[in-house]
Amino acid sequence: MARILSLRTRLALLAVLAACRSASAQAVQRRSALILEKRGSIGQLSVGTKIDSVGGELHRVRGQPGIYQSSDGALQVEADTSGSITKIRILSGNFLTTRLIRPGRSTLKDVLSSYGRPAALAVRGGELIVSYDGIEFGFPYQKPGALSEADFGQLLQVPVRAITLTRTRSKP
C-alpha cells in the first residue's frame, strides 16, 4: 500500500478523511442543537434513558467508569451502574437551551435574566454551580474573600463553562 501511494497522495487522503470526520461531527451537532431542559434531553440523548440506546455517537472515557463522551468532546454523559443516563454535560457553544443560553457565549447575567432566581448555589471543583430544576450552569470560579461591587460586576460577565442536564423534579 505504502509503495502504491506517494507521500503526497497519502497526506491528501488523510486531509480528506479529517475533513469528512469534521463534517460528520458538525452534522451531529446540527441534528441536536437545542437543549430541552424540561425534558432533560439534547438530540437523541435524554436523562433517564439507557446509554445503549444512543448508539455509536458516544465512547467510554478510560479510567472513569460510567462516563461517556462524544467524539468532538462537546458532550459528556454520566450513567449509573444500570446504564441509565443521570447527567448530560454540554461544553460546546453550538448547543443552546430553550432560553438561548450557550456555553462559552452566554454570561451569568444572561442566565439570571433568562431563568430568574436559582433553586440552589454551590461551589464544586473550581466551578460556581447555579442550579434550576433539571438544569445546572457551571461558571469558572475562584472564591474571593469578600464580594465587592466590582467583583460581583465581573462575576456577572463570566461566560458559562458548561451546562448540565439533570433529573427534573416534575419528570416521572
Binding site: 446540527r30 430553550t98 432560553r99 440552589a120 454551590a122 464580594l147
Partner: protein, 298 residues
C-alpha cells in the same frame, strides 16, 4: 475538412456547457444539487418579516431542498386546479414560438408566400422574443401572488431553457440578431432563477407557527415559540428588541395543535416590556455572599 471538424467540436462544447448550465440551474430549483434556491427563499422571507437568524447553520440542507420543492409541489399543485389547462396552452404557445425560430431563416428568404401578420412575425421574430421574455421577467418581479409567480416562472424557464439548449450554436456562429437574442435569453433564464425564490420568499412563503406551550411542560417560557414544519422540523423564535431571532433545525416532532402562519403572528405581535432583573441579581448577590462565608452549599 479540418475546419469542419473543428467547428463541430466547438459547437458540441458550447452546447454541452449551455446544457449543463441550464440543466444545473433547473436542478437547483428542485434542490437536487444545492441549496441556494432555498437560501434565497428564506433570506427574502426573513428580510421581509425582519427575522434575524441567530445561526442559520441550524437549517439543514434537506430542509432548504424541501422548501424549494414545496414551492412547486404543494402550494402550486394544490391551488392550480382547472387553470392548469390554460397554463399548459400558454406554455405550448411559448414553446412553439421558440421552435419556430428554425423556420425563420427560410420564411425570411421567401416572404411573399406568407400573410402580412406572419411576415411581420417573421421579420420581428427576435425583437418579439426578447420583448416577450423581458416582459415575463419584469412581471416576475412585480407579481405578489404565489400561484401567478410560479406560473409565470414555468412559462419563462421552460421556453428559455429550450431556446438556449437548442440554439447554442447562435452564440458562436449566429448573426448579430441571433447572438443578441441568445444572450438575452440566457440572461433572462438566470434572472428568472433568482427572481422566483426572492419574490416567493418575500410575498408567499410562510412557516407554520406554534406556541412553545404546545410541547409538554414548557408553559413557563414566555415569548418563546416553536414552529412545526410538516411535523418534522422544530424551530423557535425569540423576540429581541424590535426584531425576532429565529432558529431552525431538523428534529422529529409531532403534534396535532392548530398552526398559525408566522406572517399573521408577526403582523399582530407587540413587543413585551422587559422584565426587571435587578431583584434577581440582588438576591443572587446575597445568596452568593452567604455561600462564600459558609464555604459550602446553599
Amino acid at each position: 475538412m479540418a475546419d469542419g471538424l473543428w467547428n463541430r467540436v466547438i459547437d458540441a462544447v458550447v452546447k454541452g456547457v449551455v446544457t449543463a448550465v441550464t440543466g444545473g440551474g433547473i436542478a437547483q430549483v428542485f434542490g437536487v444539487f444545492g441549496v441556494w434556491f432555498g437560501r434565497l427563499l428564506i433570506s427574502a422571507y426573513a428580510q421581509t418579516l425582519s427575522l434575524v437568524f441567530v445561526d442559520d447553520r441550524f437549517i439543514t440542507r434537506d430542509l432548504y431542498a424541501e422548501w424549494s420543492r414545496n414551492v412547486f409541489v404543494s402550494s402550486f399543485a394544490e391551488n392550480l386546479g382547472i387553470r392548469a389547462g390554460i397554463l399548459l396552452l400558454v406554455l405550448l404557445g411559448a414553446v412553439f414560438h421558440v421552435l419556430y425560430k428554425r423556420k425563420v431563416a427560410a420564411a425570411t428568404s421567401a416572404p411573399s408566400s406568407n400573410r402580412l401578420l406572419v411576415r411581420y412575425y417573421v421579420r420581428f421574430y427576435f425583437a418579439i422574443t426578447v420583448a416577450l421574455f423581458l416582459a415575463g421577467v419584469v412581471a416576475l418581479n412585480v407579481i405578489h401572488s404565489s400561484l401567478l409567480l410560479v406560473a409565470v416562472f414555468i412559462l419563462l424557464v421552460i421556453p428559455q431553457g429550450t431556446y438556449v439548449i437548442l440554439y447554442s450554436r447562435d452564440l458562436v456562429r449566429g448573426t448579430l440578431k441571433e447572438q443578441f437574442c441568445f444572450v438575452s435569453m440566457l440572461l433572462f433564464f438566470a434572472l428568472s432563477l433568482l427572481l422566483l425564490p426572492h419574490g416567493y420568499g418575500k410575498w408567499a412563503f410562510d412557516l407554520a407557527l406554534r406556541p412553545v406551550t404546545a410541547i409538554a411542560g414548557e408553559s413557563e417560557i414566555g415569548n418563546v415559540f416553536v414552529f412545526d414544519e410538516k411535523d418534522s422540523v422544530l424551530c423557535r423564535v425569540t423576540p429581541a428588541d424590535q426584531k425576532f431571532s429565529l432558529l431552525l433545525f431538523k428534529k422529529p416532532f409531532s403534534a396535532a395543535e392548530r398552526q398559525v402562519p408566522l406572517r399573521l403572528w408577526v403582523a399582530n405581535y407587540s413587543a413585551p416590556s422587559r422584565a426587571d432583573t435587578s431583584g434577581v441579581l440582588k438576591d443572587f448577590r446575597t445568596n452568593l455572599t452567604d455561600l462564600v462565608h459558609s464555604g459550602g452549599h446553599q
